[in-house]
């Protein structure tokens, strides 16, 4: 019979020491990231690279424990992302942003797919790489906008709307690739993709339709009960979705979408610390599995891809900001702000970990995210200078 770990157990003591040391290390990194004005994700990845497989220090905390925590981290990341948008914003985003969203998808996913194919990967791994280069990091972008005090700028609504569209597109993309990864015969794959899409659409419609009632059910009671309820529902829906081979992450995302009003506000506050904790472990765990020597092998591809897709994001942002009437500088700012990729790209790469090219995909995406998550915020900060070079008063 399993018993609670007593203080006397040496095994538990060792685990506590290791986990505690790692958490402390992450705390230092998070603080450093705050100082530098970037998100902590790239630093977590670097830490994972040094600590993990083939790295400088070897940790031997029970892998099954860490991997479960990491998985919960993904669910909470996606849940919190779903919380960010209200149903009104989603409808508005869908109504006005589809054109921009399509431009965004084509410009930014294609280079990733092309590089994947050039590296001789199987098409599915290439599609995953395309997903990783497509999606800007909403975490980094909203942090940059807040830190640089650009929330009120003309181009900001265009940026935020694009993030909404990308996240919605993920709600379709993730379950489809998840179904493709499971694979099987052509017929079985087509069937499971069909099931995946149907489930997503049904939950999405239900979330938009009954979200309010669902939230009202949760709102009574203490913070404690709300936190447990929200955590429980997220894991439950994610588990059921995973069972139906629809990607648990999307289940969690849709639960987040379904919450609205006061329940949403409270849940956002309650879940944030939990998400930060679990997600940090996820990023760490992801990079644990990346072999630094494999990273060196794909570094050239990562840098090339980062350059190309930074330019394509600039183009996307330029186009999106022009549509809302921003001037040249604003368009440049929008593009530069969107360069950063982050949590979603890692989630996508993690999906493909089991593929034949999974190790290489993980290494490439880790390198790619490292570059763009650091360069993106810097580019955003200095975008005015980049954009101002050729700016004459008459040109505006």
């Amino acid at each position: 019979m399993p018993t609670l770990v007593a203080a006397g157990s040496t095994e538990a003591a060792l685990a506590f020491i290791e986990i505690g040391a790692v958490a402390l290390g992450l705390a230092v990194l998070a603080r450093l990231a705050g100082r530098l004005g970037i998100t902590a994700v790239p630093l977590y990845l670097l830490a994972g690279l040094t600590l993990g497989e083939g790295g400088l220090v070897q940790l031997d905390v029970t892998e099954s424990f860490i991997s479960l925590v990491a998985e919960i981290g993904v669910l909470l990341l996606l849940f919190a992302l779903g919380l960010e948008y209200s149903d009104v914003e989603l409808r508005e985003g869908l109504r006005t942003g589809l054109g921009v969203g399509a431009v965004d998808a084509i410009l930014n996913a294609l280079p990733g797919v092309a590089v994947g194919l050039l590296l001789g990967w199987d098409p599915l791994a290439a599609v995953l790489l395309g997903g990783a280069t497509w999606i800007s990091s909403s975490g980094v972008v909203s942090k940059v906008l807040t830190d640089l005090q650009r929330i009120g700028f003309r181009e900001t609504p265009a940026i935020l709307n694009l993030l909404v569209i990308e996240d919605l597109a993920m709600a379709v993309y993730l379950p489809v690739v998840a179904a493709l990864i499971v694979g099987g015969t052509v017929l079985a794959t087509v069937a499971s993709v069909g099931v995946a899409l149907t489930v997503v659409i049904v939950i999405l419609l239900a979330a938009l339709r009954y979200g309010r009632r669902f939230s009202d059910l949760l709102i009574g009671g203490s913070d404690e009960s709300l936190l447990l309820a929200v955590f429980g529902i997220t894991l439950l829906v994610a588990g059921v979705a995973q069972r139906l081979e629809v990607s648990g992450a999307i289940g969690a995302f849709l639960v987040g979408l379904a919450l609205s009003g006061a329940a949403e506000e409270r849940a956002t506050k309650l879940v944030a610390p939990l998400r930060d904790l679990f997600a940090a472990i996820f990023f760490l765990f992801f990079s644990f599995q990346v072999d630094p020597s494999a990273l060196v092998g794909v570094l050239g591809a990562a840098i090339g891809l980062a350059i190309v897709t930074s330019l394509t994001k600039l183009g996307t942002g330029w186009y999106a900001a022009r549509r809302v009437g921003a001037g040249r500088k604003g368009r440049m700012r929008a593009g530069a702000t969107l360069i950063a990729r982050g949590e979603f790209s890692i989630v996508i790469a993690a999906l493909g970990a089991g593929l034949a090219d999974g190790a290489e995909l993980g290494a490439l995406v880790a390198g790619y995210v490292l570059i763009t998550a650091i360069v993106g915020p810097l580019a955003a900060k200095f975008a005015d200078r980049l954009g101002g070079v050729r700016l004459t008063p008459a040109a505006r």
């Binding site: 914003e89 929330i151 900001t156 609504p157 709307n161 506000e265 500088k329």
Partner: protein, 159 residues
């Protein structure tokens, strides 16, 4: 009043902007969590702005008070979120039996269970009118109660 433009900021909140009489563009961002930011747009480049002030919900109330805004709306919204309670703006009609009678004489709360929490008279408002307050035609009685209570009150004030 100047035309106020509203822009949704998904995941952040709402931005309102207007141009002052002096031609300055001013914006207010209301964050989801109730924080507000006051922005002033650049005259040369209208795309960019400077954040003048970040305000908490409480600060906003204080500043609004200093700027002379009425607190009625805010109180009313707070009340509106209570469960089982409704709020109604009842316009006192010209032929209302309530005119020139005090609230005490009308015994509205005793008879309907609903309370008059504020009265809007022209450009002024009377928050929490006392029992000696008497209605004039054209007053708007901001009332709180159950749906049935409010219906009864409406019949008394605006038959």
């Amino acid at each position: 009043m100047a035309r106020v433009e509203e822009t949704q900021l998904p995941g952040v909140g709402v931005r309102h902007e207007f141009a002052t009489e002096a031609g300055e563009r001013v914006g207010v961002v209301v964050h989801r969590d109730g924080r507000r930011e006051i922005l002033v747009y650049d005259r040369a480049d209208p795309d960019v702005c400077t954040t003048l002030l970040g305000l908490s919900t409480d600060d906003t109330r204080t500043l609004a008070e200093l700027l002379g805004a009425s607190q009625v709306t805010e109180t009313v919204t707070a009340v509106q979120q209570l469960e089982g309670l409704s709020i109604e703006w009842i316009h006192v009609t010209d032929d209302s039996p309530a005119i020139d009678r005090t609230i005490r004489e009308g015994e509205y709360r005793t008879r309907t269970g609903a309370s008059v929490v504020a009265v809007i008279r022209g450009d002024t408002s009377v928050p929490a009118p006392d029992p000696e307050f008497s209605f004039l035609a054209g007053d708007v009685a901001v009332s709180v109660g159950t749906v049935e209570g409010l219906a009864t009150l409406r019949a008394l004030l605006a038959p």
